[in-house]
């Protein structure tokens, strides 16, 4: 941790960082508020890295470390895809690929009352929002957005769901649209729902289209933007 040059972090932004790297030296910066996201922590006067990944910075003062995992750590306000595993009298038990099973209250639906509790069978796929996620506790979910409207949340019927890493989910949700989705969208018509917990649901008019889209998305993870375009175009050519 010592032999790292202290000072501004501009040389480390968008670089791979490892636990123990010093990112910022606060003694040289005065009267500035810095917001720290995941993977960073403050040790007296320095900000050091806790998780391996890429350091990101967004103006004016936000720093965080981005990394990709197979398992998901729940955070509040994340939109995720959950699978119903059981129902209790006041909660549905929903698996969101996290360390603990999440609870979805039976009333957490738009216009939900005790009289119109939805019935979900075991294995139903839901697009839900994480309301509360504290370490050690079961996360709490909701099928409404913060204002109580249903929006896009709810059960997803038919289609095909596959699992991926959290990094791929974030890439698919990034704006501007990621190249593979662009290329596929020009030729095929499909709909996807991306959960930040590493689950993606795809639906298209016919099974072959769904399979093409799903495979293209799975294969696009290690590729750069240009490579994604090439891969997607090759896949489309082979099929048509």
């Amino acid at each position: 941790m010592e032999s790292k040059s202290s000072g501004s972090a501009t040389n480390l932004v968008d670089q791979l960082v490892y636990p123990g790297d010093v990112v910022l030296d606060l003694s040289s910066m005065t009267n500035q508020t810095i917001k720290l996201g995941g993977g960073l922590r403050q040790d007296c006067d320095v900000i050091s890295v806790m998780k391996a990944g890429r350091l990101r910075f967004s103006k004016p003062n936000k720093y965080w470390v981005e990394s990709s995992q197979k398992r998901y750590v729940p955070h509040a306000e994340d939109s995720v895809l959950g699978i119903v595993v059981d129902s209790r009298s006041d909660n549905f038990l929903v698996d969101i690929k996290g360390p603990a099973i999440a609870f979805l209250p039976v009333l957490a639906f738009e216009g939900g009352t005790r009289r119109n509790i939805p019935k979900f069978e075991v294995g139903a796929l839901l697009y839900v929002r994480v309301v509360k996620a504290n370490p050690g506790m079961n996360p709490e979910l909701s099928c409404t957005d913060a204002s109580g409207k249903a929006g896009e949340y709810g059960v997803l019927k038919e289609g095909y769901m596959f699992e991926c890493s959290t990094g791929l989910s974030r890439m698919l949700l990034s704006s501007p649209t990621c190249p593979v989705l662009d290329t596929l969208g020009k030729k095929l018509s499909f709909e996807i729902a991306v959960g930040l917990n590493g689950r993606v649901w795809v639906i298209a008019s016919s099974p072959p289209t769904t399979i093409i889209v799903a495979n293209a998305l799975i294969n696009s993870e290690p590729l750069s933007g240009v490579q994604q375009k090439i891969m997607a175009e090759k896949l489309l050519q082979r099929v048509q």
């Binding site: 059981d86 294995g123 997803l156 095909y160 769901m161 399979i211």
Partner: protein, 388 residues
């Protein structure tokens, strides 16, 4: 209960419906046809008898090792074969460490039956001294990653490692022909096992629609399918074993159709295994030439071990050597294994990455050798934990 639910991979109704619908139009989710195998790659480790097979995303590793033991009383001229499977928890969240579960035992039994009943391995050539000493072959199968169809991948791994395994050469000598000399690899080239044929396992999956048959199911297809069958055949078309564990009933003509398919696939897979083994053998031969010319001794620093008929002698070591004793119960003479100078008797060949195989039959879980009391296993084993 909740923790266990959180640990398993869940299947959605969407996937189940989609997989079955796609199969109706002969499409599988990863783009394969219903009767296509995934990409198969076979790699070998540094030591003889270790192989790693990757079938799509499924990875299985296999090691073969051999030890001198007393044969079973009813088969005094034959060596023994045993298979152990380990389903590592890193392969699948539902695998638990410790005692093998039902599917682990089933996998071991399928491979075991394929090799044993069809007499693929020539066990009579493993006999050194009739009724006294034979080679016991042990196959250890480790599942590294479960992405469906573990049986086929594990079978290929077992066959590949059997084909590349080399056992030390032994010769009989001495006044009464009872002395057995185990030659280390430097002195005499170790010998391969004699395999008459390669029994290849081919797994089929059946779905609720009776006409749907898939080959080499993936993890999700296994969760969705309603019946399965594993047929073990060799390239000549001999059926070595069939395993159909209950579940859905299948029509006779579908089973016959599957067996014909399995014959074709067994031929393909046998060719691939043989290619990979031949390439590996060529590379090793080239390496050996290089090794001899630069006279660097790697691996075993073994010495000649001699088993003599002798009166009772204390098992203490003399200076640097180790005395290994074999005491068969019903023999008046004690046989000793004496290692001269600063060597160690290394009878086992194993991959350096494997868990230490500490030898004696009594430490093998699952199968209990009836003669474990006779053979003093502690003294038979070589000190495995020291670097050689």
């Amino acid at each position: 209960m909740e923790q266990r639910l959180a640990n398993c991979v869940q299947l959605t109704v969407n996937e189940k419906q989609f997989i079955e619908n796609a199969l109706l139009s002969e499409l599988r989710v990863d783009g394969r046809g219903p009767l296509e195998y995934r990409k198969l790659s076979i790699k070998f480790g540094k030591d003889d008898g270790s192989a790693e097979v990757q079938l799509g995303e499924t990875r299985v590793m296999s090691f073969v090792s051999a030890q001198l033991v007393q044969p079973y009383k009813d088969r005094p001229n034959e060596g023994t074969l045993s298979i152990f499977t380990e389903f590592s928890p890193m392969a699948d969240p539902s695998f638990e460490p410790g005692r093998p579960g039902e599917s682990a035992v089933e996998l071991g039994r399928i491979i075991d039956r394929g090799l044993r009943e069809s007499r693929a391995i020539d066990t009579e050539s493993l006999c050194i001294l009739s009724a006294k000493l034979v080679w016991a072959i042990r196959i250890d199968i480790h599942i590294l990653d479960n992405a469906g169809n573990l049986v086929d991948a594990a079978n290929i791994a077992a066959l590949a490692s059997l084909l590349t395994f080399r056992r030390p050469e032994c010769s009989l000598g001495g006044e009464d022909g009872q002395q057995v000399v185990v030659h280390p690899p430097e002195v005499r080239e170790p010998l391969p096992l004699i395999l008459h044929h390669l029994p290849v396992a081919v797994t089929f999956g059946f779905f609720s629609n009776e006409n749907l048959v898939v080959l080499d199911p993936t993890y999700h297809e296994e969760a969705v399918m309603t019946g399965r069958m594993t047929a073990t055949l060799n390239a000549n078309g001999d059926v070595c074993a069939i395993q159909k564990p209950g579940e859905q009933g299948i029509f006779q003509h579908i089973i016959m159709h599957c067996l014909k398919l399995a014959h074709v696939k067994a031929g393909d897979i046998t060719a691939k295994i043989k290619d990979a083994v031949e390439k590996h053998n060529n590379e090793r031969a080239l390496q050996k030439i290089k090794r001899r010319s630069s006279s660097v001794s790697v691996d075993v620093c073994g010495t000649t071990a001699r088993l003599r008929g002798k009166q009772n002698q204390s098992g203490g070591g003399k200076d640097n050597s180790h005395l290994d004793q074999l005491k068969p119960k019903d023999e008046a003479n004690f046989m000793e294994c004496d290692a001269t100078s600063s060597g160690q008797v290394q009878i086992n060949k194993k991959d350096e990455g494997s868990k230490n195989f500490t030898g004696g039959p009594s430490s093998w879980y699952g199968k209990k050798d009836p003669y474990s009391e006779c053979v003093n296993s502690d003294l038979l084993k070589a000190p495995m934990d020291s670097e050689c």
